[in-house]
């Protein structure tokens, strides 16, 4: 019995049950809302157990992959359901699951309108993300890539804040439009393979051995890059991000910042650098330049924001610049740094969005000019906020520092001036993070502001787990660094010529 398909399907099935559970009574009551919530919690626990089984159990016939699953789907076109797991996908799936728990504990219970549907869409997004991390058939990858957009669109457009519909439309148009470019690239690669070998297949491993002319591989790689650059986001195409992150409901913001952005980074590692290594190394100067531009520009804009969620969103742009820089350094160290940065950013930014959401729930505003001095009224929430803000600015000993340091070190080997400029981006990062801490938590309390109750102990415990993970990533990163590297293409087996 293979666990991978179950891993993909379990969330959406659980979501379906949650939806039904939320609609059993014709008039929604608090009890039926809670039923949906409990179903979601049970689904997540089951999913975690399953993932633990895959992580720590032994798969006898998986070969170099940690786990492997294959089933024909559309044999006439060489399309199959191929799911493979290596260290990179496993660690990103762990990140996704770990982030879902604080979401569920801190935020989704507050949803009162149509809670069943909300939970269904939440878990459907998770299915799309996990599928994206596991698929090694390009068609299947594209299928999941598109699939995760739809529930996220509905989440933003229905449960979001004041300008939600516009934000949702922008989000969908940008990601889907760039996705179509990736579709053309996928088809181009498949057809190039078909023309040279006469075999029509969408298998990742087989396609990675396609001989390509330099010009063609560059073209195809840029097609893939566009899709991932929008998702990551890279600077000129980041415009959807602040609006979507700001307007989304808290749980969706966490999913967006914590997980969906990582699919962009994952795609760049798996499909740009590993599928087209030569083209990627030729493209690297441009990509690294864009990464540094993102670091500086994101930090600069973040500094100018008054809206808490917008500030965090722009800081994401800045942090993702480090990921882009690390991926295209072309060294093992850069890759490790990028992956560490993805994990740490996922944890710290998601937690910051949760805290921003909690503040908005209590004060009904996100405007920092109207919030101030929360430390006295809400010490727990404030201390958590300060901790994650400090993590985000790259304090040594916390996860983000490890990632940024490794990336800068790797970039130094490639180009010292570039690394210097990128390191300069840490200064505004400290400024915007401390400015946020000062204005929200430390400043004198504002007149007329009526803070609500502090975070309850249970929610604080969940946040404490996230804090512990961030500290662990910062103090003892070695196991994560060795474990989460992707499987090199040369070691991969499977596909048509691997198993005739």
């Amino acid at each position: 019995m293979n666990a991978l398909p179950a891993l993909v399907l379990l969330p959406i099935l659980g979501g379906g049950v949650a939806w039904v559970a939320g609609r059993i009574r014709p008039v929604p009551t608090p009890a039926s809302r809670d039923a949906a919530w409990w179903v979601v919690l049970a689904t997540l626990v089951m999913e975690t157990l399953l993932l633990a089984l895959v992580t720590f159990g032994h798969q006898p016939h998986a070969g170099p992959w940690l786990a492997h699953f294959s089933m024909p789907w559309l044999p006439a076109m060489g399309i199959a359901v191929r799911l493979d797991m290596d260290g990179l996908s496993l660690s990103l799936i762990w990140l996704s699951l770990v982030l879902c728990f604080p979401c569920v504990f801190l935020s989704t219970r507050q949803v009162t309108v149509n809670a069943g549907a909300f939970h269904f869409l939440f878990l459907a997004t998770l299915t799309g993300v996990i599928g994206t991390f596991l698929a090694t058939d390009l068609f299947l990858f594209f299928f999941f890539w598109e699939l995760m957009l739809v529930p996220m669109f509905v989440l933003i457009a229905t449960w979001g804040h004041e300008d939600r519909q516009r934000a949702a439309m922008t989000f969908f148009m940008f990601t889907q439009g760039s996705g179509l470019l990736m579709l053309v690239s996928i088809l181009g690669l498949v057809m190039a393979h078909y023309r040279t070998t006469g075999v029509l297949t969408f298998d990742y491993v087989t396609l990675s051995r396609t001989p390509l002319s330099p010009a063609l591989s560059m073209l195809l790689m840029v097609g893939f890059f566009m899709a991932f650059a929008v998702k990551l986001p890279v600077v000129p195409v980041h415009v959807w991000l602040p609006a979507a992150h700001t307007q989304a409901p808290t749980a969706a913001s966490v999913l967006l910042a914590g997980i969906l952005l990582k699919t962009g980074g994952y795609g760049m590692i798996r499909f740009n650098v590993m599928l087209f290594p030569d083209a990627a190394s030729r493209f690297a100067p441009i990509a690294m330049g864009l990464g540094v531009a993102g670091i500086l520009y994101g930090a600069w804009l973040s500094f100018a924001q008054d809206d808490v969620k917008r500030l965090i969103a722009y800081s994401s742009v800045s942090h993702m610049g480090f990921v882009l820089l690390g991926i295209f350094c072309g060294s093992r160290m850069g890759m490790q740094g990028a992956i560490m940065q993805m994990l740490a950013h996922g944890l710290s930014t998601a937690a910051l969005f949760l805290i921003a959401g909690a503040i908005q729930d209590r004060l009904h505003t996100r405007d920092m000019r109207r919030i101030g001095g929360l430390w006295a009224a809400m010490p727990r929430l404030s201390s958590a906020g300060v901790f994650f803000a400090v993590a985000a600015l790259g304090m040594p000993g916390l996860g983000n520092f490890t990632g940024e340091f490794l990336v800068l070190l790797a970039a130094w080997h490639v180009s010292p001036p570039l690394a210097t400029v990128a390191a300069a981006g840490l200064v505004p990062a400290a400024m915007y993070a401390l400015r946020m801490v000062n204005r929200i938590f430390l400043a004198a309390p504002r007149a007329g502001l009526r803070p609500g109750p502090d975070l309850p102990a249970r929610q604080m415990a969940v946040l404490a787990c996230v804090m512990a993970l961030v500290v662990m990533l910062g103090l003892y990163p070695q196991p994560f660094m060795t474990f989460s590297l992707p499987l090199p293409v040369a070691d991969m087996t499977g596909g048509e010529d691997g198993a005739p």
């Binding site: 669109f153 439309m169 579709l183 088809l187």
Partner: protein, 491 residues
């Protein structure tokens, strides 16, 4: 020629007899309910015998009036199924019309379906043109059937009559020229023989193509479709968008064959496809009325289909098959939901702004509508995703770079207006029940459920192997190579 040739596909026969029986029954006692029942039974019977025929095997030599192969079976089954769905959509309203007009509606509807089938099965200019006119004339009657406001229906019918007449005239001129060149009415592009100048068959082909484009509403000839579809009843608009387009496209593929086209045709098709996709999508952007928007989107979808038509090869058959099915199922779904939502005959419910808050007032309809629209936009899990994927694959396989670019741009524009409808449905309801039809109609709910299942199942578990169903000219040597390639692909 006709005397000794008795080859006749069974669905045509069944449908003709059904029409006569319903007509005779009308002569006894006029009743809308009976006519509807007769019509539905006839369509079902025709669908059951869709692969059969009477008389001898159609000779490969000499001229026959009709032809029957996998392609006709598929498209005929698709148009019959769509007709059944549309008849079901108009069931309640027609029954309410009363005996005086309800049975006329059914008769016209069946005549239109007969015309579409005749076009699908034709292997000769005569049945093709007869089918075309049968379809056109009955459609004109159907379009004029709208009661409130009657002027809208009449205006739309008038527009349809005039433009359809013009296009028929051009088509007929082309057929005449072709007959002059080849001396045969065989349904194939004319080839110059002897001392006939090459321009003559070329002119004939282009005129026939223009006539077909008119009916197919490809872009330079598209102006009539939005007006007519807006003026007609919702089920009639569905008939225009689905059945008549399937029939025309089927005969287009039959006429030109599924091989590489001659260069001059290639260029014309290229230009028409680019214009159709961009024009249809851009027109749809500014529409506020849902039938008009669907008309524009159907123009764009014809453009996508033509890409597959222009790119022969390994993937073509699968792409065309799935795209036709995807387009029909999703479009029928949208129209069925529109019928369920809008009160009969009125202008209410067709304006997109009236769909505000549908998710909170009628969640099932809104979810199904979302699925259909996403399928039309080419987003999983609907069947439309796979269809668009295959179209893009054929384009890339043939290195039609411009067409693939246009496909991408068109899809992005299309995404905007489809999403816009979903956005409106997701918005908070402003005026809870204004213009919304609240009575539940079980037959429509069942139809929507069936179409939803088709769209989802088709998207997740598409047919395992898509057979090469397109018509091929057996004389050409490429055909055999194609099958070999196909086998290689299957393995």
């Amino acid at each position: 020629m006709i005397g000794h040739d008795v080859f006749l596909p069974a669905p045509l026969l069944v449908l003709s007899f059904g029409i006569m029986i319903v007509l005779a029954a009308t002569a006894c006692r006029r009743s809308a309910g009976r006519s509807l029942l007769g019509g539905m039974v006839t369509l079902l019977l025709a669908l059951a015998v869709v692969g059969l025929h009477t008389g001898g095997v159609s000779g490969s030599e000499g001229d026959t009036l009709f032809i029957q192969d996998r392609w006709t079976t598929y498209t005929a089954a698709l148009s019959l199924f769509s007709s059944m769905c549309i008849l079901l959509m108009s069931w309640r309203d027609t029954a309410h019309e009363g005996a005086g007009t309800g049975d006329e509606y059914v008769l016209l509807f069946m005549l239109g379906t007969l015309g579409a089938l005749a076009m699908v099965f034709s292997a000769n200019y005569m049945p093709f043109f007869m089918g075309l006119e049968l379809l056109g004339v009955s459609l004109m009657g159907l379009v004029a059937f709208r009661r409130r406001p009657a002027t809208a229906g009449h205006e739309a019918a008038m527009k349809y009559l005039i433009l359809s007449g013009v296009s028929s005239a051009i088509l007929l001129f082309g057929i005449g020229l072709a007959y002059g060149v080849t001396g045969s009415l065989r349904f194939a592009p004319p080839v110059a023989t002897g001392d006939i100048p090459a321009a003559l068959p070329m002119a004939a082909t282009v005129m026939i193509l223009v006539g077909m484009f008119f009916k197919l509403s490809a872009v330079p000839f598209h102006m009539w479709l939005p007006d007519v579809m807006e003026g007609a009843r919702v089920p009639v608009a569905a008939f225009l968008a689905v059945v008549s387009k399937i029939a025309i496209f089927s005969s287009l593929v039959r006429y030109f064959g599924a091989e590489e086209q001659p260069p001059f045709l290639n260029d014309i098709l290229y230009a028409v496809i680019v214009l159709t996709i961009l024009g249809g999508n851009l027109l749809a952007l500014r529409q506020t009325s849902l039938p008009r928007l669907m008309a524009c989107s159907s123009i764009a979808h014809v453009g996508y289909l033509l890409i597959a038509f222009l790119c022969p090869g390994l993937l073509q058959a699968g792409a065309i098959t799935i795209y036709l099915a995807a387009y029909s199922a999703s479009t029928l779904g949208v129209f069925a939901i529109m019928t369920a939502f809008a009160p009969p005959d009125g202008p209410e419910g067709t304006v997109i702004a009236q769909w505000t808050g549908l998710f909170s007032s009628r969640p099932f309809l809104a979810s199904a509508m979302t699925l259909m629209l996403l399928s039309l936009a080419g987003i999983p899990p609907g069947i439309g995703f796979l269809a668009k994927f295959q179209i893009a694959a054929t384009g890339v396989a043939h290195q039609r770079d411009l067409l693939v670019c246009v496909l991408v741009i068109g899809s992005i524009i299309g995404l905007y207006y489809y999403l816009n409808i979903i956005r409106v449905m997701l918005a908070a309801p402003l005026f809870p029940s204004a213009g919304q039809n609240r009575d539940s109609r079980p037959e429509l709910t069942a139809l929507v459920i069936v179409l939803t299942i088709i769209v989802v199942i088709g998207g997740l578990f598409p047919v395992r192997a898509i057979h090469p169903i397109l018509p091929m000219h057996p004389a050409l040597p490429e055909t055999r190579d194609e099958t070999v390639h196909w086998r290689a692909g299957l393995r």
